[in-house]
Symmetry: C2
Subunit: 250 residues, 2 copies
DNA sequence: AAATGTATATCGGAC
DNA sequence: GTCCGATGTACATTT
């Protein structure tokens, strides 16, 4: 998408040769190429998969990503990540699209029996997404107002390194005890509790054998099983959302 | 995609009214609709995001999913999951596509300044993907040949329930000790060790306070930190892949 | 390139 | 519906 003015080239029910050329040209020009048609899909790599004939929409992006979408689901039924090399050729009456990479070695093969439309889109997209309501927002909320966690909490570091990995927020409580804070932007299950536990254990070991380390999980809410795990391991929970709740007085 | 014969309807540089009608008709007919054009995107729900003007490809699936794809990345820059309600209308010279759902309440708003192509694809896709190299394959491998885990291992149950959740494989070793097996299809980090530890602790508690329970992690390999965690907690590791390695004598 | 943790993760299964 | 764990998770970040 490097041209100033967006442009589309599109063919309907093209011949195999025309399809191959249109896909190859689109890729060469750095366009986003779509193909709709009846195809089979084979994948071999981290796992392996086979998909029989059906009508699907294929996207080939200029960064080397390929997506095979059916009429259902948010996720592609098959794909190849950015950075892959594409190859397109005719085989018998079929058009074959191959996408491959190494590290890890993997290969996607889409074989089209019939192509109903092939399009190439060239445009420009300079804009970046701005996103809020993330874990980073939750961290900033606490750093801005540490009393949200508890009175007299003092943050000392973010991403503090321990032998078990980096702790989201490290600080001290009113009594000067070490506090490990694990942040989650949404309701959490057992995983998050185990993660917090690893950090607390590691920090206790890193500091001294007999130093008490508190662990506080911060999230909007926890599941029952996570709550039980927190209790079993002497960990604490503070309910907090990434962004302040909108007031009721609007 | 309910028609026997695949069909495409497509418009290039359509007017706003024609765009709105083409999108609405495609959705009504249960087609997979694509729109390429210059648009802004706003999302509000589990998080919130804003995306300025740029040329993008939008997919509207008959199951209610919406995807906004730029020319980069495997993932859509914005999306809405299956089950959403779509609405399309003109506002000034723009065409607006709204996609919303409740539980959780979230809303996606795509505002098109210019549309270069709108297409509706109707087809059929009865085929299911067959995938191999999954965790289920790894489990079956061990059930078929328990000695892959260790000599005289006896599987007793899969998905055995404990107070911490279901264990992948539960069995006994040669000495009659309880064994908890956690399976992973690929190289694992600290998460998997914590998960295994939760199950071992829970099962030990569920059975009796003084019963020894072995925990074995089965995966192709482990990271250094995970290996250290395994040692610290007296857990074991067996290297095994979901599918047998291809021999060297081919 | 490998490791680690987040995600508007998505998805499927169990309850 | 919620909960829980798998995923060819993808992705950014750091080492």
């Amino acid at each position: 998408m490097t041209t100033d003015r967006a442009a589309v080239t599109s063919l309907e029910e093209p011949s195999p040769d025309a399809t191959r050329d249109a896909i190859a040209d689109g890729i060469d020009r750095g366009a986003l190429v779509t193909v709709f048609g009846r195809c089979t899909v084979d994948y071999e790599g981290r796992a392996s998969s086979r998909l029989g004939a059906g009508d699907r929409l294929i996207l080939c992006k200029p960064d080397g990503a390929t997506l095979v979408h059916t009429d259902e689901g948010q996720q592609p039924v098959n794909w190849q990540p950015p950075g892959c090399e594409q190859e397109v050729y005719c085989d018998g009456g079929d058009v074959v699209l191959e996408s491959a990479r190494s590290t890890p070695e993997e290969r996607l093969l889409v074989r089209f029996r019939d192509v109903l439309q092939v399009s190439a889109f060239a445009g420009s997209d300079e804009t970046e997404l701005t996103l809020s309501g993330t874990e980073a927002d939750l961290r900033q909320r606490i750093l801005d107002e540490p009393s949200l966690l508890e009175p007299e909490f003092r943050p000392l570091a973010t991403e503090r390194d321990t032998s078990a990995g980096a702790v989201d927020i490290y600080g001290e409580d009113a009594a000067g005890r070490a506090v490990v804070v694990e942040l989650k932007r949404r309701r959490v299950g057992p995983d998050a509790v185990s993660q917090l536990r690893r950090y607390v254990d590691a920090l206790a070991g890193d500091l001294h054998a007999d130093v008490a380390v508190r662990g506080i999980l911060v999230a909007p809410s926890v599941t029952d099983r996570a709550d039980r795990l927190l209790s079993e391991h002497g960990l604490e929970f503070v309910s907090l959302e990434p962004t302040p709740e909108t007031g009721c007085d609007d």
